[in-house]
């Protein structure tokens, strides 16, 4: 090939390549890169949404305002109590289900398909189904009184409303993490168990000294995913409380708060500043997860 032909060929390949990349470049440019840049810039502005858009530079005032905003702290507290209950419960439940399904049982395919139903159902539908079950003369209260337990006003009592969302989300996300555990269980070399059997280890010892240590990176992954999910909680709270975060702010989440500031109070700049704080939390969690995951794999 002559030099001129080579140059022509590589120019042509560049053009073809950018043809392949064009839709991605345009869409990522307009709906990913531009939004991130404008989120950062606009969080230093007061943005007027009513009528024509107008912007006024106010420096760090949006960020200072957060510290004094009582509802930010309420949303954070709700998120923390959600994390404290949901993350450990769904992790242990997912692990237990995966361990059971991984033992040599017939029909485990069928169980897996059934367990997975909530994961493919829309959050809106799941929330409506649970509101129907939680309603004051609904199935849950009927079940509770059957066992002689006190019934609750699940939708209207601030003391239990968030717990209702917690139960629903543990129920609907545990199967997803179960599948991730199941995949990891397949990767444990059989030879480890055989060696342990020769040393006279019983099933409990094998679980404790082989399976659980082997699953540790996956557990870390699942816990961080649960944490990220908690900070992203929106649909369930929005539908549960008709967008208010009530009763008495008990189901208020960070994303719901951002939504309210942006679209109820039309205070876009402040909502964007809150969004940036959320981004820092979420991306720190993701980055930590990636780095630790990579370290584990290099070992």
């Amino acid at each position: 090939m002559t030099r001129a032909m080579q140059v022509k060929k590589s120019t042509q390949e560049t053009l073809t390549s950018y043809g392949f990349m064009a839709p991605t470049i345009v869409i990522a440019g307009v709906f990913l890169i531009l939004p991130i840049v404008s989120a950062i810039v606009l969080s230093f502005y007061k943005v007027q949404l009513l009528g024509e858009l107008s912007f006024q530079f106010i420096g760090l005032r949006n960020f200072v305002r957060m510290l004094e905003d009582e509802r930010v702290w309420i949303a954070l507290r709700n998120t923390m109590s959600y994390v404290a209950v949901v993350v450990p419960t769904q992790t242990i439940l997912a692990l237990t289900l995966a361990l059971i399904l991984n033992s040599q049982l017939k029909g485990k395919q069928l169980f897996r398909v059934i367990f997975f139903l909530p994961t493919v159902t829309s959050s809106a539908v799941l929330t409506l189904i649970f509101m129907w079950i939680y309603n004051s003369n609904g199935l849950l209260n009927a079940g509770l009184s059957f066992f002689g337990l006190p019934t609750q006003n699940w939708l209207g009592d601030p003391a239990v409303a968030l717990q209702g969302i917690m139960m629903m989300n543990i129920w609907s996300t545990a199967p997803l993490f179960m599948v991730i555990y199941l995949a990891a269980l397949q990767d444990i070399p059989e030879s480890l168990y055989e060696a342990a059997a020769i040393d006279g280890a019983n099933r409990w010892e094998k679980l404790l000294h082989i399976t659980l240590p082997f699953l540790q990176p996956v557990t870390f992954f699942v816990v961080v995913m649960g944490l990220i999910g908690a900070f992203q909680l929106f649909d369930q709270s929005y539908i549960f409380s008709a967008g208010t975060g009530g009763p008495n702010n008990s189901t208020l989440t960070i994303v719901l708060l951002i939504y309210q500031y942006a679209f109820r109070n039309l205070d876009m700049g402040y909502a964007l500043a809150l969004t940036l704080m959320l981004a820092v939390v979420l991306m720190t969690a993701t980055l930590m997860q990636r780095l630790l995951f990579r370290e584990q794999q290099l070992d």
């Binding site: 392949f20 839709p23 470049i25 939004p35 991130i36 493919v120 991306m283």
Partner: protein, 274 residues
């Protein structure tokens, strides 16, 4: 085969118990959708309706004139989002795996960075951009921002990296250009990867709540999850209607799940979630 163990029946009991925990809410919702309002209001716990009726399903279509429109909106959006993602993600994945061009590393790093950026972060600026484009309350306003997906661009790149080179070389000898080779030789052989994309992208678009909530303010442009929420506000305590509407919405997603089940499980282990 392993020998019988005392633990086997215990494990089965646990599995059946949890299967019941999973199924009961769905069964209870399905049952409500076939009960008349009087039976709902009475608050019984019978799973089999005493006065079985299909009237709820009829009523939601006749009483709520927008219901079929919401169903149509959801179908249009999910269909186009899926088709565009299949096409665009595969094209970008192929270029990043197989072609040489200046700026390739930069674009690959941008895709990797995009994997870590949660959708909530870009939500408000997206709204502002769509507003200034005049694209609020339009189909393309909801479809185009979600027409690519970093996770699946990355997945397609991994897939094409392992794709046998010989096929493309043979196509080149036959005088096919890069584009023709991609569409006529490579893409038809990428079916498993495309199936995995289809199920995740379709489910994501079908079930999405927050993005349409922000973009679609006009009730005629609602997708069905928004419609269901509005419907609940309007027909509060008409649980028979709400559950019938929910069942109609869930059916297509379940059908896709049943059909693509195999790819779903594979996909989860790749994407690590949704």
């Amino acid at each position: 085969m392993k020998s019988w163990r005392w633990s086997t029946p215990v494990l089965y009991l646990l599995l059946i118990g949890y299967a019941l925990v999973t199924i009961v809410p769905f069964a209870w919702a399905l049952s409500a959708s076939f009960k008349p309002l009087s039976e709902i209001a009475a608050g019984g716990v019978n799973l089999i309706p005493q006065a079985f009726t299909l009237a709820n399903y009829q009523t939601i279509f006749t009483q709520e004139p927008l219901f079929s429109r919401w169903l149509l909106n959801s179908a249009i959006v999910a269909l186009f989002v899926t088709l565009l993602n299949l096409l665009f993600n595969s094209m970008a994945g192929y270029a990043l795996a197989r072609l040489q061009f200046p700026g390739k590393t930069v674009w690959f790093l941008i895709i990797l960075a995009a994997l870590m950026i949660p959708g909530q972060i870009t939500l408000l600026p997206k709204f502002l951009i769509l507003k200034s484009l005049g694209w609020l309350n339009t189909y393309h306003g909801l479809i185009l921002p979600t027409a690519i997906n970093a996770t699946f661009i990355f997945m397609m790149r991994q897939f094409f990296l392992n794709f046998p080179k010989e096929l493309e070389e043979a196509a080149a000898l036959d005088g096919l250009g890069r584009m023709e080779t991609f569409f006529r030789v490579v893409l038809p052989l990428a079916k498993p990867a495309l199936a995995t994309q289809t199920i995740f992208v379709f489910m994501g678009a079908w079930n999405e709540f927050l993005l349409p909530l922000v973009i679609m303010a006009d009730p005629a442009m609602f997708t069905l999850p928004l419609g269901l929420n509005a419907f609940k506000g309007q027909y509060i305590s008409y649980w028979n209607y709400i559950m019938a509407a929910s069942m109609i919405f869930t059916l297509p997603a379940l059908a896709i799940y049943a059909f693509f089940n195999r790819y779903f499980i594979q996909g989860i282990t790749f994407t690590g979630g949704k």
